[in-house]
């Protein structure tokens, strides 16, 4: 499967900008959550940015994804509008879902995002269904479903792998193995130790990748997406990564050590890529700073937009339950 993909500087800077946007959006969301402007729970994607950006950058218009409860990164990587995202987190009428969905249910059908999902594994068969529709309509679109190491123990994943394989569906299963399912280390729950290896039972190729290397993820993602599109065969990618924050904001994190977290923070996908851009690809430090500053401003704009937006109209509670 070795095909070296050359990404030009434009693309590399795009990767960087998207990862920084995710990071700064999540940090802002954390801040607003601590100020009680965001209710319920939020699940931070901090630390995993390279996977969303690497995979989603390999998709084309018309392709589709289903995401997880930890979905802000995927939505931003697909080109989501961070104003409408932040407004949705604050439950405002201007949010992506008119304030009715919240963090775990953001969707933007126009850019192919068929929803974050509050049920672990819930979006998996839906992505296969999207792929099925594409095939039945004679389109050449690909569907990607993101899932975690926790979801890798849901039976529904195996039903979906099986049915996608027998029906030759253009679907990619991207498992973000961040080593912990809520507060349970996957090393204790994943019999056999490897998620990628489980795919072979279904005649599906399973590929492991360093989830913190955005270009490597992009390479593997491109391969799998092209295979889905041209050969109508599914693939399972297991991307190894780490989440910096607790499962949910407020998680006391009794299941891991500060040393472990520190080690992984050294391998920050953004920091590592920034160093490469400057040292290996000769990007000017100023250009990096400009990107970071411009993202800061965009995120500040999203905060302002969300806070100043109105609450939903109470009288519209029952609107859109039925079509």
């Amino acid at each position: 499967m070795k095909s070296k993909i050359r990404t030009g500087i434009e693309q590399k800077l795009e990767f960087y900008k998207k990862m920084v946007t995710i990071r700064k959006f999540e940090e802002k969301a954390l801040e607003l959550y601590s100020r009680n402007l965001i209710r319920g729970s939020i699940h931070m994607y901090i630390g995993q940015e390279a996977i969303a950006v690497g995979i989603c950058s390999a998709l084309k218009k018309g392709d589709m994804i289903t995401s997880t409860h930890r979905g802000h990164g995927h939505i931003i990587a697909m080109g989501g509008d961070i104003n409408r995202m932040m407004a949705e987190l604050l439950g405002k009428s201007t949010g992506y879902c008119k304030g009715r969905g919240g963090s775990m249910h953001i969707a933007d059908i126009d850019i192919g995002v068929y929803g974050a999902n509050g049920i672990v594994g819930g979006g998996i068969p839906i992505a296969s269904g999207l792929a099925l529709a594409s095939v039945m309509k004679g389109e050449d679109n690909v569907a990607v479903t993101f899932l975690g190491d926790g979801a890798a123990n849901q039976g529904l994943l195996y039903e979906s792998l099986n049915m996608s394989s027998i029906w030759n569906l253009p679907v990619l299963f991207v498992c973000e193995n961040n080593l912990y399912a809520q507060t349970t280390p996957s090393k204790y729950t994943l019999a056999g130790g490897s998620i990628a290896k489980r795919a072979v039972a279904f005649n599906i190729e399973g590929i492991e990748v360093d989830g913190n290397d955005v270009e490597r993820v992009y390479e593997v993602g491109t391969y799998a997406i092209d295979k889905a599109r041209s050969k109508k065969r599914p693939t399972l990618i297991e991307a190894k990564t780490y989440r910096w924050k607790g499962h949910w904001q407020g998680d006391p994190e009794p299941y891991r050590t500060k040393e472990e977290l520190r080690e992984w923070m050294e391998k920050c996908p953004i920091k590592v890529y920034k160093d490469r851009l400057i040292k290996e690809f000769g990007v000017d430090k100023k250009e990096i700073e400009d990107i970071e500053n411009s993202v800061e401003m965009e995120v500040a704009g999203a905060e302002k937009f969300a806070i100043s937006s109105t609450e939903p109209d109470k009288s519209k509670l029952l609107e859109d339950i039925y079509a």
Binding site: C97, P125, A127, G129, K137, M163, I321, A323
Partner: protein, 323 residues
């Protein structure tokens, strides 16, 4: 008019809708060569092919999920669950994904999927193959629930259900499949949300669903010299045509609700509560419910007949009620 069976009526309905709209397809277990466990899709694979009549592995949750994903992307799937007792395997997809996605996403998508199934006792199929579980789906906002009692209603309502843009649980009854009834030669549909007065009367209103309808009609005929019974078949439980029911109660001042399902937490109790709230002053007697016992359906025929309302039981209860 022609006389056909309930199963044939459903078969015609599916066939006509598939001929009319290429986005309609069927997915389920044994629906291809066999034509479905109850022959509802008999012959359809020869007409439409295995792409459109998708015989699936025994994977209820994936069957539901794939159908939901396909529906989100513009197809109109009919997903068959051989027994309503098995739908529990798919319930997360039905309740948490299909029912809620439109609302959670702010009205952006629709999920036009029909979940067809059958239930009911009387054939010694024992506890796990004989239940009437409409109450589970009745309770979930976002779903519509349809329970036809005869071939004419079955075909007309199934056609409408397929054309409806909402997720619909369409519950047939295993003892109704072979019953015959008149159906127009020409095409027709029945509006969802309209009850049908199966027998006009003035002394007593009986509301009945599914296989209880023919039983109640039979008893009504038997008692016609002493009692003029009005029989109402709601046909659709969600949306419920409460107005037709209330008008009847205002006329007769006495009402009995008959359901095969277990009494506890059943739809009859809910309908009863609306009658009491809205038409209390018209009632000469409390609302009476005749329902299945709060029992696990037994295998023994003798015991099974104790667990569900039989014609004999219905007649005795009516006689006691009017004393």
């Amino acid at each position: 008019m022609k006389e056909i069976t309930f199963a044939e009526a459903l078969n015609e309905g599916i066939k006509e809708e598939m001929q009319r709209d290429s986005s309609v397809f069927c997915i389920g277990e044994d629906i291809g060569l066999l034509g479905g466990a109850f022959r509802v899709t008999k012959g359809l694979i020869d007409i439409f092919g295995s792409d459109k009549i998708r015989n699936a592995p025994i994977s209820e949750q994936a069957i539901a999920g794939f159908a939901i994903g396909a529906a989100m992307k513009g197809m109109r799937p009919i997903a068959e669950f051989m027994y309503i007792d098995f739908m529990g395997l798919a319930i997360d997809q039905i309740v948490n994904q299909a029912a809620k996605s439109r609302y959670m996403f702010g009205g952006k998508i629709k999920v036009p999927v029909v979940f067809r199934t059958q239930g009911g006792a009387g054939r010694s199929n024992a506890a796990q193959h004989s239940q009437s579980l409409e109450a589970w789906y009745y309770h979930i906002p976002g779903l519509k629930v349809i329970m036809p009692s005869n071939p004419y209603d079955a075909k007309g309502l199934l056609k409408s259900a397929i054309r409806d843009d909402n997720p619909i649980v369409f519950i047939e009854h295993k003892l109704l499949y072979s019953t015959k009834g008149e159906v127009p030669e020409e095409e027709y549909t029945i509006e969802i949300g309209k009850a049908d007065i199966k027998r006009v009367g003035s002394d007593l209103t009986i509301i009945a669903t599914s296989n209880m309808v023919p039983k109640v009609l039979s008893v009504a005929q038997k008692l016609e010299d002493i009692l003029d019974i009005e029989v109402i078949d709601p046909r659709t439980l969600v949306p419920l045509d409460i107005n037709t029911i209330l008008s009847s109660v205002e006329k007769t001042n006495k009402v009995i609700i008959v359901q095969e399902a277990v009494r506890r937490g059943g739809v009859a109790s809910d309908i009863s509560s609306y009658i009491i709230e809205e038409a209390f002053n018209y009632l000469d007697k409390p609302v009476k419910i005749i329902a299945g016992e709060n029992a696990v359906i037994p295998f023994s025929h003798v015991l099974e007949m104790e667990a569900i309302p039989t014609e004999e039981k219905i007649e005795n209860e009516i006689r006691n009620f009017i004393k």
